[in-house]
Amino acid sequence: MDLLAFARGPALTFATAIFVAGTLWRLVGVLALPPWRDLSPAREGAPPNWLGAIETVFRKMIPHKTFLKAGMFTTVNGYVFHIGLALCVFAFAPHILFLKSLFGFSWPGLPNGFIFGVGALTAASLVAALAYRLTSPVLKLISRADDYVSWLLTFLPVVTGLAAASHIGARYEMLLALHVLSICAFLIWFPFGKLMHAFLFVFSRGATGARFRHRGAQL
């Protein structure tokens, strides 16, 4: 079996299985903990908890202006690589085919040249994020191994993807195999590190949203 067949075959199946099992393990493990029921009467006119939660999931997409004064880079750069990653994952034709094979439906993609540009921008943005993490005193203090591992495992699929698309560095099937393997590594790590925020943000924002909107407080 060559490396590409290994990557597309057993490696990908294993990694995806770990991803699914780990993600459910972590989510269920947290959500199955008993809640502290809030018996206090809601503020008059407060939305029901589920609505407060959903409102907040969206509300938190945009930071308050006052926090942007110091957090502009974090916010803008964060948006750049999140949108970049989303476009690369969900709008690149080969990726759509991959997702179609998993979910059974597909959608139109964007031209490769455009995706390539987005990928390059995303890689640059990730490098900037790392540089910021390594230089900001606050981030240096609060960062831990998880942050650097998660960064690397996000960065690798982007650069191997760019290399594969531009045929730089090695033969295409080797680059493709490395790309798939880097995604395997990403998937395996995902449930155990902060990458999990891709799912957790809904619950995290939602929980605070329910708490605050119940009180009639703004977020």
Binding site: R8, T16, G29, A32, A93, K100, P111, L176
Partner: protein, 357 residues
């Protein structure tokens, strides 16, 4: 059969000038993307060479490779190859049969000891002592071993000989293996494909004949001149790929427009061969041009890559059961973890209560 005369003298005897070598050399140089200045050296080499004894062994194969080489597109030019070599044994093409045929092989081996080239098409069954394919009562395994012993080099022609091919596809009932596994250190060239492009076969033989050495090979032993680039890299439909324009079915708008066949399972991006430039049937067409994706036939295990119509980026394994199992396991672990945490918390609280008392 011994061949003492130079090819130039032999051709001259037949009233053919050295221009024939020059023209043939131009042709081969162009095929193999050698610098045009190499054409003259190639012509000189060919002219000075002796007729090359070639022993062609056919094992577990379908004769498609022989069909391919004998139907090369320009008999007047390409057939010169058959003037340059002496095909001393090829059981499909030779006139004699039976004992006489095997005798011819042994004679050629004796007469050209250390100089003859062995061409093999087909894979060799190794299971159960190789009983699954025999010629004249001799197993392929034994015949290969015997013939290779005094050969100068071996050329594996076709994906079966190069990589095991279809006989070695799962579940490989005969234990078929590639020639490379049995070549025992002899210089080996793989010319893969199912079948290989005829020009690749004649080009490589000419090169060896003229320069007395192997051309530059890739990591799979294939001449880079023909296997240096992917079908995708040289495909005329590539701009559609870059634009994200794909055929979604074999009879949809995209297919009629001639859009890229990637979504229909084309293996062009990972297949190294010259189909997109040399094409087939005298440069008439190649699979993608006629509307079908590349099968990847010149790559190892092309039969076992999950299906010809399975797009390249899709996973090879059956994900469904694995993921369902993982989901159940993950949820169970999650519930278990939550219960464990609760009991752990209770233990802690109990300890704390005790302390209070």
């Amino acid at each position: 059969m011994r061949h003492d005369e130079t090819l130039a003298a032999e051709m001259q005897r037949r009233g053919v000038s050295r221009r024939a070598f020059l023209k043939y050399a131009s042709y081969v140089a162009s095929l193999m993307a050698l610098p045009p200045s190499a054409a003259e050296a190639l012509a000189e080499g060919l002219a000075a060479a002796r007729r090359q004894s070639v022993i062609w062994l056919s094992f577990q194969e379908c004769t498609g490779c022989t069909e391919s080489i004998t139907r090369s597109h320009s008999p007047t030019l390409e057939n010169l190859m058959f003037d340059f070599i002496s095909l001393d044994y090829h059981h499909t093409l030779m006139a004699v049969s039976g004992q006489a045929a095997e005798q011819a092989r042994l004679e050629a081996m004796a007469a050209n000891k250390g100089k003859y080239i062995v061409v093999v098409d087909g894979s060799v069954p190794t299971k159960d002592g190789g009983v699954y394919s025999t010629i004249a009562g001799i197993s392929n395994l034994k015949m290969l071993e015997e013939t290779l012993r005094d050969a100068f080099a071996v050329v594996a022609v076709g994906s079966c000989a190069c990589f095991g091919g279809i006989p070695a596809a799962k579940p490989n009932p005969t234990g078929a293996v590639a020639i490379s596994e049995l070549a025992g250190g002899k210089p080996l060239i793989n010319i893969s494909g199912c079948p290989p492009i005829p020009e690749a076969m004649t080009g490589v033989l000419s090169y060896v004949l003229s320069f007395g050495k192997l051309p530059e090979l890739d990591h799979l032993g294939r001449p880079k001149a023909f296997f240096g680039e992917t079908i995708h890299d040289r495909c005329y439909r590539r701009p559609y790929y870059e634009r994200g324009l794909f055929a979604d079915g074999f009879d949809d708008h995209g297919a009629r427009q001639g859009y890229c066949l990637y979504k229909l399972g084309c293996k062009g991006p990972v297949t190294y061969n010259a189909c997109a430039t040399l094409k087939w049937n005298g440069g008439v067409s190649f699979p993608i041009q006629s509307g079908h994706g590349c099968l990847g036939c010149s790559e190892p295990d092309f039969w076992d890559q999950g299906g010809f119509y399975r797009p390249l980026p899709t996973p090879l394994g059956a994900m469904g059961p694995a993921l369902a199992g993982a989901a159940v396991a993950g949820a169970a672990l999650g519930v278990g973890a939550a219960l464990a945490a609760r009991s752990h918390q209770k233990t802690y609280l109990a300890a704390s209560e005790k302390e209070k008392d």
